[in-house]
Symmetry: C2
Subunit: 238 residues, 2 copies
DNA sequence: CCGTCACCGGAACAACGTTCTAGACACCCG
DNA sequence: CGGGTGTCTAGAACGTTGTTCCGGTGACGG
């Protein structure tokens, strides 16, 4: 949003094409920096943060960039490209340390925790595993590299290494997706609890410690991560 | 698919409205059973299995049912409803045993394994965690009930119980989603490997045991599940 | 001066989810 | 028997989406 924004009908203001030289930028652009892939991705992330995945639209994205809709297609082949790039940008937010501490387990826990925080800042990014496209962005690969080297340092190799990698990946993605999908309003929570209560006879255990009201996501994540890391540690000793 | 299907231009065949009484069903319907929610869900599952999530369309679904598109909206409020129902139907495919064996761990492993098989039969169902709607269908709740009672039998309570529940849930969903998102064609696999190889200096560990060519999903799932169950078992003994 | 190239964007298309509205049929109450 | 009510069906249409077609504009090199 710059100064002119907010007034949508400025077409014939200040009369046609002449205007004031000083107000007219020299190079033919509109005073905006030239459109680049980077600017598109940045705007896409902002839009996704503000309004969520189903409000990301090529038209809305273009509007936010003060640019014609179809112009985007010069820099990007499809909308999926935009999303792929946006997701990889989120991976870039977690600072991957360039050296390890003495405890591989703590390295892993810290890396995974950072990543979870980044995902919680951008919940739409957790919908990625659902999209049927493999992740191959540079930021993702850098993250993967650090995770795997930490796992190697922890003593894992071969199939166990791969299994541990994906298990940790799935834990972060799943936990984030679950958390944001159960971020219900007070009214929805009440209705859900009532619904569960009415079926208590069929689902006594589920109703007893009901998953709809339990919102201690930090504990769920940390304890689940502990399960995994305990199991991984035990396996690496075998 | 019934007998008439496959020929799309039968409009004026056998002349207009009269026809043969015996071929004309008595009650004004088209010889099809009346449209019900159950039939809609069944057709939706079949359509999703055949063509995937992004090909599920109200129009295509109606066509498959030999029904007007808008008719669906009498039985169902939105398309999301259809998907929710379809997903719950998949949970219904895993037979939930009505009693437990002597080993809680084996109960859990069997239940989770069955569930994974159902998900692999219907990979689109693994995209659920990404949709921002809580699962509350009867089949899902029945499944959850058995899982949680098994975990209780294994000695878990309170926060650990919830954490274990979600960890196992996320493992199945994540593993399935990851597996089907990396189901690449031979050409794509080759390109991906080449891409990784060219960046080997940046991501040596990732490139070494590269995740694009490794397709031993059964091992990944089972080993990851072992990590989790080991950790859970250890926690329950504390 | 003239083309070529990088970049921009209006108009249009097919497809989507959904609503509006009207029709067909069964059944009940008189 | 007859008219109204409720259940179910569906055509037409609206607004929105991703994407393509095609025609621009300005800078730059020959």
């Amino acid at each position: 949003m710059n100064v002119i924004a907010g007034n949508e009908r400025t077409k014939s203001r200040s009369g046609g094409k002449v205007g004031n030289v000083w107000l007219r930028p020299s190079k033919g652009n509109k005073g905006e920096p030239p459109l680049t892939r980077a600017r598109i991705v940045k705007a896409a992330v902002a839009l996704l943060d503000d309004e969520g995945m189903d409000r990301l639209t090529m038209r809305r994205l273009a509007e936010r960039l003060q640019v014609g809709t179809t112009t985007l297609y010069w820099h990007v082949a499809t909308k999926d490209d935009v999303v792929d790039l946006a997701v990889d940008a989120i991976f870039g937010e977690t600072q991957v340390p360039d050296q390890h501490t003495e405890s591989a387990r703590e390295d892993i826990a810290a890396l995974v925790g950072d990543w979870r925080n980044a995902m919680l800042r951008h919940p739409w990014a957790a919908t990625v595993p659902a999209r049927q496209r493999p992740l191959m962005g540079p930021n993702f690969l850098a993250w993967m590299e650090f995770l795997q080297t930490a796992l190697v340092r922890a003593g894992l190799t071969g199939k166990q290494l791969n299994a541990a990698t994906w298990a940790l990946y799935n834990h972060v993605m799943g936990a984030t997706a679950t958390q944001s999908s159960l971020q219900l309003s007070a009214e929805e929570t009440r209705l859900g609890q009532e619904y569960l209560e009415n079926r208590r006879e069929h689902y006594p255990t589920v109703a007893a410690n009901n998953y709809i009201a339990d919102h201690d996501w930090d504990a769920n994540f940390r304890l689940g991560l502990d399960f995994l890391l305990d199991g991984i540690e035990a396996a690496s000793r075998r």
